[in-house]
Assembly symmetry: C2
Homo-oligomer: 770 residues x 2
């Protein structure tokens, strides 16, 4: 591993390369994209939650001047879409949720398209509906899908996607416990609230090849999905090219291909024109899929010394009416359930259930925040039951470098102890324990997350091509997706470092499936990890090629040459040097010349979970701890966060500025989920479809976040780095819930922790104690 003091660009707080363009309003979002002859798409949504479609009358819409196409489920081939192939672009037969897409329009402008949508008349026959996932599992509950993806009959609303993990013997562990606590927790719908609303632009060339201008996080999986859809349209084997514009936030909302994208394809195919589909903010709330709600029953025990003996989790996930990739979040929820702290015996069962609610999907943390809310809440409860300080209880059970967890994760580096201790220290934990203040509370939450990729798909790979031009400028062609996290900058830093040029010499090319090699997508906090490793390997190849060209020119053995800051030099005599651009031009303009490229496909040596859901899912694991000090207003139930310490084991901070940006953002997102954010559904219908009623934290709510970076330098990571995109938002809710309990003795088990819930808790507590 390169020593810190030798690093020139890695580890430096270099500002995001695209920041200036964004701040200056120059970045091109999907909303900025226009094509000659482009049509505007609009969707007719269902106003019924579960109903048979009796008839659709689109005749008035079709006659409206400026309308170029109106499509309903009857006008298109039956092509199942979605992760479990349980959805249709335009519904046929029945609707299963509000916002089900029943018709679509393409028109010369969006006003006409919207007006045409309003002219479409749909006649429904209402069906009984079910909104509670537990009720949905009862015999006799209305069946959302009569058949499964293969056409077989469904007997239940339970998804045929079981999640069962058993490590050790939970019953024996329970029997051997001195203390056992058991409780139920729940989390609700939380919206991603990307500031860039959803949209796409679909365009066919005259040979039937599709170009999709997209804001997806998974361009290559989307290419696959759209290709299969085209086959359903009779366009088997045509090229599908995904071009990405600037993405205004992802957070997991773009890990699926979405219905509006397939509708845009249908309209573009029908009209043979480019069709752009852009969501309004209200649509973004109503027709995008939020974080999957969970109901969690959790039991945990410890021995007389406070050492954890078992953890037993039973979880129900509200899938909503259709299935997204979010139905696989239990694969990542298993990470903290099996491996946060040392627990010898673990059992976890998750059931995804169809309801007539809005369908839900993955969001930052991929289920981990929901699971960790339960784990870290019950851990405080267990510490209390055992009479041990929650800080001490955590340190007693802390993970260790080198351990293999019950789920067979091979822990390489682990800075969890340093994180917890660092947080406690900065919070003033000891002082608080000695002199607690009235209505003030301290709370802790720890986290484990995948930090070295996560094999949730057949490949966890990342392809990269590098090229250096005559001027020593390096182009890095990457399959990675920049969703605002700063991937471009990280790639430039790593490339500059390992090739020996300056970060400003790097142009990162991304967002075109025809040009950029395959990558599984930006998710699982993997982007910097995989692309950094790919850049290291490709950069080493490129540098070797350069030095081999320079050797004969400089009459030095290439092995004795190095390249740094645009200068090739002899390692024996650094005065013996030649500028990179001169070397390159000389090599190029020699007879039969050359052009320098290098490539690498980095697929981390991690493992797909086996049939027992075990295996080393990630090459390294990220740890962290969040600690807060809160003050609770016992009159109003308002919670104020006075201190917020977030410690993260990041392996190595490739760029502390960007890394802290991730931590700040995650703190706000985690705190929103903890205290204020919820999509309110009434009988399946969203009640708060705007930023007045849906309360994300704003700049005015800025938290006093103090990040602590713990850098154990993990050998699996590029320059030792682990992923850090998601971790920050994982342990926030339990830390806050624990602090509130510490402050006023009220434990809230259902997110968000609203003032109403705190006041009710206080009332109940007083009622019980007065």
């Amino acid at each position: 591993m390169t020593r810190d003091r030798e690093l020139r660009y890695v580890g430096r707080p270099i500002p995001k390369m695209d920041a200036a363009q964004k701040v200056a309003g120059r970045a091109q979002y999907i909303q900025d994209l226009k094509k000659p002859g482009m049509l505007h798409g609009a969707i007719k949504y269902s106003d019924q939650v579960h109903a048979r479609i009796l008839s659709i009358d689109a005749s008035r819409a079709r006659k409206l001047p400026g309308v170029k196409a109106v499509l309903t489920g009857d006008d298109i081939p039956l092509i199942p879409i979605g992760f479990m192939k349980d959805n249709l672009a335009l519904k046929k037969g029945k609707v299963r949720q509000y916002r089900d897409e029943v018709a679509a329009v393409a028109a010369i402008n969006s006003e006409i398209a919207r007006e045409a949508v309003d002219l479409i008349q749909v006649e429904y026959e209402p069906l009984p509906a079910v909104f509670d996932p537990e009720e949905a599992l009862l015999p006799g509950a209305p069946l959302i899908h009569e058949t499964d993806a293969k056409g077989g009959p469904n007997k239940s609303n339970r998804l045929k996607l079981p999640w069962n993990l058993v490590c050790g013997d939970v019953d024996a562990g329970r029997a051997a416990s001195t203390h056992v606590v058991e409780d139920r927790f729940s989390t609700t719908w939380v919206a991603h609230c990307c500031l860039g609303a959803s949209g796409c632009l679909a365009e066919f060339d005259l040979s039937g090849n599709l170009t999709m201008h997209s804001i997806t996080q998974i361009p290559y999986l989307a290419q696959n999905d759209f290709g299969a859809f085209l086959a359903g349209l009779g366009l088997e084997g045509k090229n599908v090219r995904i071009l990405s514009t600037t993405i205004g936030g992802g957070f997991g909302s773009k890990l699926d291909t979405h219905v509006y994208e397939f509708i845009a394809i249908l309209l573009a195919h029908k009209t043979n024109k480019p069709v752009r589909m852009i969501f309004s903010r209200e649509e973004e709330f109503l027709a995008q899929a939020p974080r999957q709600p969970t109901r969690i029953r959790i039991a945990q025990g410890c021995d007389q010394y406070g050492r954890l003996t078992f953890r037993d989790v039973d979880m129900i996930l509200d899938n909503g009416a259709y299935t997204s990739w979010g139905a696989t979040t239990p694969s990542v929820m298993m990470v903290p359930i099996s491996s946060l702290y040392r627990v010898p015996n673990v059992r976890y069962k998750a059931t995804c259930v169809y309801t007539n609610n809005l369908y839900s999907q993955a969001m930052r943390g991929y289920g981990n925040p929901q699971a960790t809310f339960a784990i870290e809440s019950i851990t405080d409860q267990l510490a209390e039951a055992a009479g041990i300080d929650p800080l001490e209880f955590r340190l007693l059970n802390v993970n260790q470098p080198g351990e293999i967890t019950p789920q067979r994760f091979r822990v390489t580096t682990c800075g969890l102890r340093e994180c917890i201790e660092g947080v406690a220290d900065k919070l003033g934990w000891a002082e608080h324990r000695k002199n607690p203040k009235k209505a003030r509370g301290f709370g802790l939450g720890s986290l484990i997350h995948v930090g070295g990729g996560a094999r949730v798909y057949k490949s966890d790979g990342h392809g990269m091509i590098m090229r250096v031009d005559d001027f020593g400028k390096v182009t890095v062609i990457t399959g990675g997706v920049e969703i605002g996290q700063g991937l471009e900058t990280i790639i430039a830093q790593v490339t500059a470092e390992c090739v020996g040029v300056l970060p400003e010499d790097i142009t990162v090319v991304k967002g075109d499936t025809s040009i950029c090699p395959w990558d599984v997508g930006t998710h699982a906090s993997r982007a910097a990890f995989v692309s950094g490793n790919a850049a290291l390997a490709a950069g080493a190849k490129l540098k070797r090629k350069i030095l081999e060209l320079a050797g004969p020119m400089m009459r030095v053995d290439p092995k004795d040459l190095d390249l740094r800051d645009r200068m090739v030099f002899s390692t024996y005599d650094p005065e013996e040097a030649m500028p990179l651009d001169k070397v390159l031009r000389k090599a190029h303009f020699t007879a039969q010349g050359t052009v320098l490229t290098a490539e690498h496909f980095y697929d981390p040596p991690n493992e797909m979970l086996d049939k027992e859901f075990k295996g080393n899912l990630s090459c390294s694991y990220a740890y962290g701890a969040t600690g807060v000090e809160v003050e609770v207003d016992e009159e109003t139930g308002q919670v104020e966060i006075l201190k917020y310490i977030a410690a993260h084991d990041v392996g190595r901070a490739l760029n502390p500025l960007l890394l802290k940006g991730q931590v700040y953002g995650a703190a706000l997102m985690g705190t929103g989920m903890a205290l204020t954010e919820q999509l309110v559904l009434k009988d399946g219908k969203v009640q708060n479809d705007n930023f007045l009623d849906y309360k994300i934290l704003t700049a005015l709510d800025a938290l006093p976040v103090e990040p602590i970076l713990v850098e154990p330098v993990d050998e699996a990571g590029p320059y030792g780095a682990k992923g850090v995109g998601e971790p920050g938002c994982v342990p926030v809710a339990p830390a806050i819930a624990n602090a509130i309990y510490d402050a006023v003795g009220v434990r809230i088990r259902d997110l968000p922790i609203t003032p109403e819930k705190i006041l009710a808790g206080l009332k109940k507590k007083r009622g019980g104690t007065l």
Copy 2:
């Protein structure tokens, strides 16, 4: 060499891949490009032809609402530009031609920009001017440039760029000749008439890097030029990225970086906004640079058997007021002068001369049409003097495969005899000689041109990267420039053929210097030759990688596998096969996967001309012959072309459809140059700046072109191909001139051959004979 019958896609008349997009109006030209906040540039041209600039008053323009910047030569650093660094983006001190750029405006729309330009007042002091290049060489002629590029004094208008070729002993050759003829020929300004008018869009990012949306034929040389210009602006070492939109015709007009492009850069830099500069059609005629006019003195002799003994050419080129790459066209004019037919003794001297005319540049054929007009006219004259039929005379002197010409060109294949004989046969030469019809005439013209690249720059190279995705779709990233000739289609055919997929599986990525490897540019009929060879090499590497992956899967030694039409199969048992996409997905989704790319830099083994202007400029030489039958109306002087046979030694027709397209287009362009096209200048000022007054041939003038393809299969070329982009227009004018002479006995030595000139010739002839 692969046998014809084994070829699946090479040799097929596959329609141009981008044709449908263009016909349907979907192609995006520079005129279609819009950027948020974009400003519109306009140029104030000089209304004096040679004058001192006394003052420029831009105060009213600057005050006009909507104007964002007004620049004059006083507002910018002195940065010499152009091939000989004899030009400035905005003139300082004096103007040297009409259309000299004296000021520029950026405004919120083009109307305001144009209005602002009209408000700029320039005060001039006229200087004596010179418009005739021979007069410009006389002592005491007005000096256009007082100093040379290095700041040294200029004593003459003669460019410091001498062209002198001496092969053998011309004086001895002349002395040994039985017949000698000597004559003078001249050609004038001809406009490229690209249907897409000139334009560009310059844009700086907030770090000072330049993105230039351009329609250049030489993106990498342009990158170099613009980079040097940025250095002059204090932006040394910044990235310059050239992005190409669809190009609406090139024909050599885009081989230079042009003044308007530098002005766009200046305005973008000044305003920090994207600035688009678009020429009107009138500007295209007035402010673009046409084909270089020539005055040619030529002498040629033969022995008693009709065998050529010497050729002696002295040429003056009207450079105009500044110097473009066109000043190097003598390097290609040398090709026919030294090597069309077997001539043992050759002398050629060319002088480029500054005048106050519009500056001129290269155009299709790169001087060859001008040189060949003289050579093939005088060849008919010499045949007549020797009393030999011009067909027989040509066949007597025809080039042979394997010969080394006096300029040291190594002729590989040569189909000139077949071309001439084919043309004569189709024309009915023998019958015509027996029974000539009144006012009808037959004429021949032969050609030699570079057919295997042309090393006119340090590198004649072409870089290519190939990638195959999970679906077996191949992306070819090429440095080549598509200017409408069909390069994309040729690359797709060659790639499909050599990799073993279908042409529709290929996506050609081009037009982005950050992504695409280096290429010297589309010129010298080299694009299909170099990119085809690069594709063969890269494709072979890609195929080998694929077969190496498939081997273990299929349990067959990769050496015994082949790939054709998307199927990997055993060469021993073709039934043992596996679809390509399955092989690729299996390889990709194996642990630690793979992504398949291959690259190649092809730089042909041709030679830069040495100090004596000798060397094997090209890897192969293209030959051809054009024959016409004309009818001359002796009352009006009108010429009608009754037959037009164009035979071309193309090595191999990679795509006969596209190839014939080149031949048809060249026939019209060559006939236009011969009969109708001329930019009329009066005291340096263009008189015909529109398509009413400037007469290109239109669809209504369509010629009865019959192409003959001669395919000797040249080992240097991809599947045997030679370049064919320019040749078609090379021998047209002399063939027509010879036919007119054959019909009515009038020889026209000055292009275009207008009815007026023919009538004058007839009058003179009658005057002489009556």
